[in-house]
């Protein structure tokens, strides 16, 4: 078929919107850390996008979307994007190069999410090595499984825009990373280490993430059509219900905070990600609301456990993504997804989605743990105590916010 200019226009702009999520995430994270580490959080986001972009065209895309090898990984046939052109052989109506660009930013964003687990203490060089390994050994396989013809794809697991690929992988990866790198000095002793320090920055970042997510989920329809429209509507509704539910639940114990409101919105957005184009609007509202609930309690649980994964990639992206994947198995509408979920009596789909999600959880946690540990052993993951004390802005970048 010929290139469809409408769908191409849509995906081009969605690529820009997803790119917007990268600095947005950096600012969101930056506002949550101490002033002496703001710059480093934004730096890591930009850096994640940059290194993954190069990795992606060199071999990452091929590992993800190359010819399937045993259901586990793609072959290197497209390394260096050899033979990729501007036809629409991958997705009807969309130039191949555009599909690849869109997917590239997803991969970059995933690595940016994981920086949560390293916040305020990671060595720059080690992060680069870690990032390359993680994208290659965790993200690319997961992308292959779900979208590139791997086993999950073959089994029919549904993941509209990356609940497992992006959010579970980065969320549980961040937790593993936080365990390996260890707590920040002073964590648990002083409120300052865990309280958000620049909330307007965080709200700005959240606002941009919210908007970018329309491109993230909408664009995953890979066409400017009714499904994209539904995905965008569902995205907006899940964000709204997530925000409201977090506001309500959190206000039982304390005043409803703005960071809570946007955390709820993000939880809703994560939750709807794998389901966006597969469910009707009321399920979307429910998925967003429950995502918010689940993530809220995950966060409370994390705090109680004293885990220092303090920007909550795990609680929001990891747990929210897990719930979203399961919820997709519950609420999928056969009219939209081609196959129904549990509410349509299809237990199979529920089991496949839940199973897929759990394997993604286990795989990404263990793999990330191993990678982080290996980097730690070989070159160290963490800056010195005195550098941490001074803050990464000065220690890693020689700058001050």
């Amino acid at each position: 078929m010929a290139i469809d200019s409408g769908s191409t226009a849509f995906l081009l702009i969605c690529t820009a919107l997803v790119t917007l999520m990268v600095p947005a995430l950096g600012l969101f994270y930056g506002g949550l850390v101490r002033k002496k580490n703001i710059i480093s959080m934004v730096f890591l986001s930009f850096l994640a996008l940059s290194i993954v972009s190069i990795q992606w065209v060199l071999f990452g895309y091929s590992l993800s979307f190359g010819p399937d090898i045993g259901g586990l990984i793609g072959g290197l046939d497209y390394a260096g994007l050899i033979g990729i052109g501007m036809e629409d052989t991958i997705v009807e109506g969309i130039p191949d190069i555009l599909f690849i660009a869109f997917q590239m930013i997803f991969a970059g964003l995933s690595l940016a999410i994981i920086t949560s687990g390293f916040a305020e203490r990671v060595k720059l060089a080690s992060f680069i090595v870690f990032g390359l390994l993680w994208t290659t050994l965790v993200y690319d396989p997961l992308a292959h499984w779900a979208w590139g013809g791997g086993w999950a794809h073959a089994l029919g697991a549904l993941d509209f825009a990356g609940g497992t690929v992006v959010h579970i992988s980065a969320g549980f990866g961040a937790l593993a990373a936080a365990f390996v790198i260890g707590k920040r000095s002073g964590f648990g002793e002083t409120k300052m280490v865990s309280a958000p320090q620049n909330i307007p920055l965080t709200l700005l970042g959240a606002g941009l993430l919210w908007v970018g997510w329309f491109g993230f989920n909408g664009g995953s329809a890979l066409a400017a059509d009714g499904i994209a429209a539904l995905a965008v509507m569902n995205t907006a509704l899940a964000a709204a219900s997530g925000a409201l539910i977090w506001m309500i639940v959190s206000s039982i114990k304390s005043k409803p905070s703005a960071v809570g409101l946007v955390s709820g919105a993000l939880a809703g957005l994560v939750g709807i990600t794998p389901a966006a184009g597969y469910v009707e609007i009321f399920p979307a509202i429910i998925i967003g609301g429950i995502a918010s609930l689940v993530c809220y309690y995950a966060l409370i649980f994390r705090v109680k456990k004293g885990w220092d994964e303090s920007l909550d990639a795990w609680a929001i992206h990891g747990v929210g993504g897990l719930w979203g994947a399961i919820a997709t198995g519950i609420f999928a509408s056969s009219a939209l997804a081609g196959v129904g979920g549990l509410i349509e009596g299809n237990f199979m789909q529920f089991a496949v989605n839940a199973g897929d999600a759990i394997i993604a959880v286990v795989f990404s946690f263990i793999m990330t743990y191993i990678i982080a540990l290996a980097v730690k052993k070989v070159m160290g993951l963490r800056v010195s105590e005195i550098e941490e004390d001074l803050g990464l802005d000065i220690s890693n970048h020689g700058e001050r916010a």
């Binding site: 101490r34 002083t190 300052m192 550098e387 001074l390 803050g391 220690s395 020689g398």
Partner: protein, 109 residues
């Protein structure tokens, strides 16, 4: 009266505030400052070369109290703010001739 001006690590502020409150010292004025110590700041290594980092973010507490209680306050701050590492800060004691509560007009000497 004495004004106790303590420059401490921002991370220690919560603990110091709590410790003071525990002993009944509530009033204080807090300023975000930055500072450099006698060590010429902290020395980092970068590619073998030393880099001096100075003018690091600190928190300054100004607490005015009567002469008798000054030493207790100093002691609370000193012990709570101390981490044993370079950059823990300083406490300065400045004489205050009088203190006025704006709301009530009360004057303390």
């Amino acid at each position: 009266m004495k004004m106790i001006m303590a420059v401490i690590r921002p991370e220690k502020f919560d603990a110091v505030k709590q410790a003071l409150a525990d002993k009944g010292y509530f009033g204080m004025t807090v300023t975000e400052v930055s500072g450099r110590g006698e060590q010429r700041g902290v020395c980092l290594q970068y590619r073998g070369k030393p880099i001096h980092v100075d003018v690091i973010q600190k928190t300054e507490i100004q607490l005015t109290t009567c002469d008798e209680k000054a030493d207790e306050v100093i002691d609370i701050i000193r012990t709570t703010a101390c981490s044993g590492r370079i950059g823990d800060g300083r406490i300065f004691v400045v004489p205050v001739e009088k203190a006025i509560t704006i709301r009530t007009g009360e004057v303390f000497y």
